[in-house]
Symmetry: C2
Subunit: 321 residues, 2 copies
């Protein structure tokens, strides 16, 4: 029998979004986060992410890094929601052959990040699996009631900003696989840094946000789609690390990885021009650099320019030059 | 290198409970549920459960039943917490070879149970896995602020009650494997019925509760341990279905499965004798039968009697006769 494969977004829209229709806080599953009423002054922002050995992390990865990565990808979404980390649930499915030493390292990684990000374990499940080790984290953040940020609030004329530098993780994945040499980039891939300090400061400043997990082009496109706009990105403005600059100067084809690869866990931020000063103050307070790389406009899709000249984007998540 | 294997409870106590120490709502991971402040009048009760194909359900199980089972095992814990179902997050890791038809059946199963139990999808994650299909659900219920039930409130002198009938699922598992013949029992295993209508009515009535997922002996023991008491169970009082009675009369060794096998998803309930009338009224209103099968007393562990005579329990989760 022929199998029809549909993409994750189509699958969610067709089969799962109808199941979430009656709960407004689910935002039609079009946002990364769900929003639940908490105490009178706060909403809970909820995000679930699953990472699978051999798919989302290397099978022989250090257990502490597996734990930190699993937690941090959720924290990145909470940051995009403008939330302050609160508690999390952990479901750990252990592959056969697990050792107590592995668990100890995994728990130690969580302990380190709990202190760093101010979040605490509140429950979960532990089980065995005949398959690869799989970690599901459901993380909860808190945000002022009704103020949680999503993808869908951008307006035509808003600027597109990004935090930090872009593309390091995609290049770092190549480095981890031995295709290029850079321990700095490899580290960026193995242990992302969620922008929780910046995210919570974007309330009242940003009109829409997304974390860059699927790649800059894809995630900027998600904001544009959800806001029913086009987004223009100027490649020359995209901030690169020293290591990424060096690599892409030697091999310009790697721009495709930088703009189309995922796992940066930086924030893409739509900001009205009149809020520019507020954004820069928030970034300074959070000790995170931000860069303006484009703008939202009427229309549809992602328009990429290089020195002002349009370039064709063949498909989301991969860019041809 | 020799691997030391430790049990799930020991693993949680040693490595994960320390991570939950600073959050009171985690109850030291000794409860099945976590408790988060919600609106001024409610707490959120949170429960995560993972089911793995080939471990927790048959690889060729109907997708609708997989979905319902995954959701219902969480709902059973919410019921034990005294909570009313609210929303849930779904993480679905799909084995290679998944079909859109399978997803459609899975979503249909969720839709049926959303209506039946009054719960709505609010978010989640979908991914592929080279291993078996794995479903993690984090379910949220609501309970009056500070009133959520747990395992640790039983007092010496409280009676032990159970809902419904015990052992059908364990016998049903044998039936599903072809070791005995009973479509009624098999159905009880394949599709548990969480006692959500009863659970919410136990607030102010029960002093402690647990759902019977690990087996009656084990879960009654969990209440006793958490409450620092012993629990006495009289086997002759344990309510059996007509089908289970017939089977165990023919093969008395199956009492081990009935008392030690899991997956009943009935409630074990500690109730002070003066609340007996209130319990019976709650059960009537919920249209669920309850039976008194024993009592809590000073001491430690589970004491099983048959017609008043003590019987040795060789190990939790398995009973020798």
């Amino acid at each position: 029998m022929a199998r029809r494969r549909i993409g994750e977004f189509e699958l969610i829209a067709r089969y799962f979004a109808p199941l979430a229709k009656s709960f407004a806080g689910a935002r039609g599953l079009a946002s990364d986060n769900a929003f639940l009423a908490a105490d009178p002054r706060h909403d809970l922002v909820v995000k679930t992410d699953t990472v699978v050995a051999g798919v989302h992390f290397f099978v022989d990865e250090k257990p502490g890094l597996v734990a930190q990565r699993a937690l941090r990808v959720c924290l990145s979404d909470l940051a995009a929601g403008g939330a302050t980390p609160y508690v999390y649930q952990l479901s750990l499915s252990l592959a056969r052959g697990w050792t107590e030493r592995w668990i100890a390292g995994f728990a130690q990684g969580l302990a380190v990040d709990q202190r760093r990000f101010g979040i605490v374990l509140c429950g979960g499940d532990t089980t065995g699996t005949p398959g690869p080790t799989t970690v599901t984290i459901t993380a909860f953040g808190r945000v002022a009631r009704g103020k949680g940020l999503g993808r869908d609030g951008a307006r035509a004329g808003d600027d597109l900003w990004v935090s930090g530098t872009i593309g390091d993780a995609a290049l770092g994945l190549l480095a981890a696989r031995g295709a290029l040499k850079s321990s700095d980039l490899e580290q960026r891939y193995r242990l992302p840094l969620p922008r929780t300090t910046l995210g919570a400061r974007l309330i009242g400043v940003a009109s829409a946000t997304a974390d860059i997990s699927d790649g800059l082009i894809a995630d900027a496109g998600h904001i544009a789609n959800a806001s029913r706009l086009a987004v223009h990105i100027e490649r020359d403005l995209v901030p690169l690390s020293v290591a990424a600059k060096r690599v892409v100067m030697g091999e310009p084809a790697l721009w495709a990885n930088i703009l189309g690869g995922g796992d940066d866990y930086e924030l893409a931020i739509a900001v009205p021009p009149r809020k520019r000063t507020a954004l820069l103050a928030a970034a300074r307070a959070a000790k995170v650099k931000v860069a303006r790389i484009g703008a939202f406009a009427r229309g549809k899709g992602v328009v990429l320019t290089v020195s002002g000249q349009p370039r064709r984007i063949a498909q989301t998540g991969y860019v041809h030059f």
